[in-house]
């Protein structure tokens, strides 16, 4: 398993469930070799944080409003 297409599947999957040992190893090996997929992996992680960030910003939205 060293194809980018397959690797992105695992990158996506790991945001939704924990990977099996074998899946983790094969993803890690691919990421070691592939710069583009390392970027993709970071971006999927960022997308995963968007929801909690949105929520945190909601709390802040009124704070900034007060200092205006």
């Amino acid at each position: 398993m060293n194809k980018c297409r397959e690797a992105t599947k695992l990158m996506s999957l790991k945001q939704d469930r924990s990977l099996t040992f074998q899946e983790r190893v094969s993803l890690k090996l691919h990421l070691m070799m592939c710069h583009a997929c390392r970027q993709c992996d970071k971006q999927f992680t960022l997308l995963h944080e968007v929801g909690s960030r949105f929520e945190a910003d909601i709390e802040k939205s009124t704070e900034t409003d007060h200092t205006r």
């Binding site: 297409r5 992105t8 971006q43 909601i58």
Partner: protein, 202 residues
Amino acid sequence: MTDTPPPGHGDGKPDASHRMERLAAVRPRLLSFARMQLRDNAMAEDAVQEALMAAIEKDDSFAGRSGYETWVFGILKYKILDGLRAQKRQGRWQPLEAEPDDDTLDRLFQQSGHWHRHERPVSWGQPDAILESDHFWQVFDACMIALPDNVARVFSLRELMGLSTEDICREVGIKENNCWVILHRARLRLRTCLEKGWLKEE
């Protein structure tokens, strides 16, 4: 003549007039969140309106454990789920089986399974700086709108509402495996859209 302190004073609970101000201030963000989920302006307006009304009515149940806005946001999430269920009942959802003719992956990857040269992801810089940027959120909003309804729905249930894929399957009526396939495509499409719409201009 002694003033009795207002009830709830000092526990972080905003007083009545302050509360309305804060609800008004947070409303635009709630609305943009509801729009991304429900993809219907009128329904989004209704959901936010109902959430704000509920917040005012159920004011006593705000315990001050979370921030006030976070609490209101939590109410909105329930209203959005209600709205989604109503859409489903009304038959407004397209079937969610992954379309066999979806060419998302073929557009991004060569036959060999490697990225097409012009689709290869590039660095976006520091995640914190990205999420601080208003421009990122504008592009994110536009990219969400550009996703097909059913794909966007699954993605936002997962990543904006924070439901587990197991819960999403129950809510939407698909198999978990299918859910993962949809999320994989949604993430690839979103990251492509974000990179094209945002990095180029920044």
